[in-house]
């Protein structure tokens, strides 16, 4: 369960501050897949990082229970000098996941071949996100946070990701950020629109999409 209690968040900019949330309270409903729609630069990724706990709000509190993933699609947690396998080991260790099981899954799913044993700095950005995606699918989370990941890789891989995420929704819930209405429509039960420093909740995804496309 994730709960925002009077959360405010803003960023310093050269001229003044960029406000993202202002005094926002909300309890994310359990057992629902939630989509967050928003234009570029409204702060969708920051919302994800707040949910994940990678960043703190300026004021207010965020409570979370259960095992949350890192914001998926984020590859900054990889060390470029380590191989794919070594990065995997690190993440398994901090999430207390079984290294051989995860290795077997990711080796197969990410289709990196020999690159799995190469330093990440030699990876293309597509290879990086394949590794990152495979890794987050291999570890069991209660809530998976997806930041626009379904848009990367070639078509074949994208399809594979969609199928895997669908399979995952049986046992975990997802919170995803996207500007693709199609993706939100496919995966989410409810949707939120981020605009004008606030998040508005719509229990009907179509309603959210209508509002979003008119904004």
């Amino acid at each position: 369960m994730i709960e925002f209690n009077r959360v405010s968040k803003s960023y310093p900019m050269k001229h003044g501050r960029k406000r993202i949330l202002q005094d926002f309270s909300f309890t994310f409903p359990e057992g629902k897949n939630i989509g967050i729609l928003g234009r570029n630069g409204t702060g969708k990724s920051t919302i994800m990082r707040l949910i994940a706990g990678s960043e703190f709000p300026d004021s207010g509190a965020i409570t979370r229970r259960g095992k949350l993933s890192w914001p998926l699609g984020f590859a900054g947690g990889f060390s470029p000098s380590l191989t794919g396998e070594e990065n995997l080991r690190f993440i398994c260790r901090i999430y207390d996941a079984d290294i051989p099981t995860v290795t077997r899954f990711v080796e197969d799913f990410s289709e990196l071949g020999d690159f799995f044993y190469e330093p990440i700095r030699n990876y293309s950005s597509g290879m990086r996100s394949r590794l990152s995606f495979g890794l987050s699918m291999a570890i069991d989370f209660d809530v998976i946070l997806i930041d626009e990941i379904l848009g990367v890789g070639d078509q074949h891989f994208q399809k594979k990701c969609r199928l895997k995420v669908e399979e995952k929704t049986a046992s975990s819930n997802i919170i995803m950020v996207s500007h693709s209405m199609e993706t939100i429509r496919n995966f989410c039960d409810i949707a939120m629109v981020l605009a004008d420093e606030k998040l508005t909740i719509y229990n009907d995804v179509e309603a959210a999409i209508t509002v979003y496309s008119q904004s």
Binding site: G53, E55, G77, F78, S81, E86, R93, I94
Partner: protein, 261 residues
């Protein structure tokens, strides 16, 4: 979440960070982490070689004591300088990892500090072994006491490292300023002299330097016939407690800021 559970996660994270650090530190070097041992060992050996070629003799012990004399000063100094340096760079070097919520800035700094201590203890043992093998063996007063001395200077360094890491978040150029302040201490921390051998007026000033006390501590632990009359452990330990407290308080107040983009 219970405290026990939280501790379990924290020790898991620190363990993972230490393993990771040993793989990333000397990334492009074939020797890998062995380089971390090789570097200080050659440093100590070269200094000893240069000074014995210059005909310098040890102020303590006999004509065979020069290697141990330098070891007793350089090992605590290197432990101090390396720990401060590694800890203060910790947050910057691992920013990406802070996205994983269970990895805290504290864990990053502590794992780096622990690795530095372990490395220097291994370096110390290899050096002692090398000296014995080369025929410079002398019975050591107390290895345990040497470890306590190292522990004290290490905690002192951890305190400074935590403080510096916090300041660096706000003042990125602070690293160079600090390095300039620290550099002269290499010459006044007793690596090349003993407190006893200084003229009284100079000694009085030199004894304000807590690092000198750590070196004297290690020296009295190594040499059976050196009683380190001017060693004031309480003085050093007061510094340790004060700096550690400030360091931890700084870390706590800058924790949120450290996670910011």
């Amino acid at each position: 979440m219970s405290i026990l559970n939280a501790l379990k996660i924290q020790s898991r994270v620190i363990h993972a960070l230490i393993l990771r650090e040993t793989r990333t530190r000397f990334d492009r070097n074939k020797l890998g982490y062995l380089w971390a041992l090789f570097e200080p060992i050659t440093y100590v050996l070269i200094l000893i070689a240069v000074f014995s070629a210059m005909g310098r003799s040890s102020p303590i012990g006999d004509s065979q004591s020069l290697p141990l004399f330098f070891l007793s000063g350089l090992v605590p100094w290197l432990l101090f300088a390396n720990t401060v340096n590694k800890v203060m760079e910790g947050v910057n070097a691992n920013k990406g990892l802070l996205t994983y919520t269970q990895v805290t800035p504290f864990d990053v700094l502590v794992s780096r500090a622990l690795l530095e201590f372990a490395t220097m203890v291994v370096v110390l043992m290899i050096l002692l072994f090398l000296f014995a093998w080369a025929g410079y063996y002398q019975p050591i007063e107390s290895f345990n006491d040497m470890l306590l001395g190292l522990l004290a200077i290490w905690l002192f360094a951890v305190g400074i490292g935590f403080i510096n890491a916090s300041i660096k978040l706000y003042l990125p150029s602070y690293g160079q300023t600090y390095a300039a302040i620290q550099r002269p201490f290499f010459f006044v921390s007793g690596i090349f002299f003993t407190a006893e051998s200084l003229p009284p007026t100079l000694r009085e000033i030199a004894l304000y330097n807590p690092i000198l006390h750590a070196v004297e501590w290690c020296r009295s632990a190594i040499f059976t016939n050196y009683d380190a009359r001017y060693l004031d452990k309480d003085y050093l330990l007061t510094f340790v407690v004060v700096l550690l407290s400030i360091g931890l308080a700084f870390e706590r107040t800058t924790r949120k800021f450290a996670r910011q983009g």
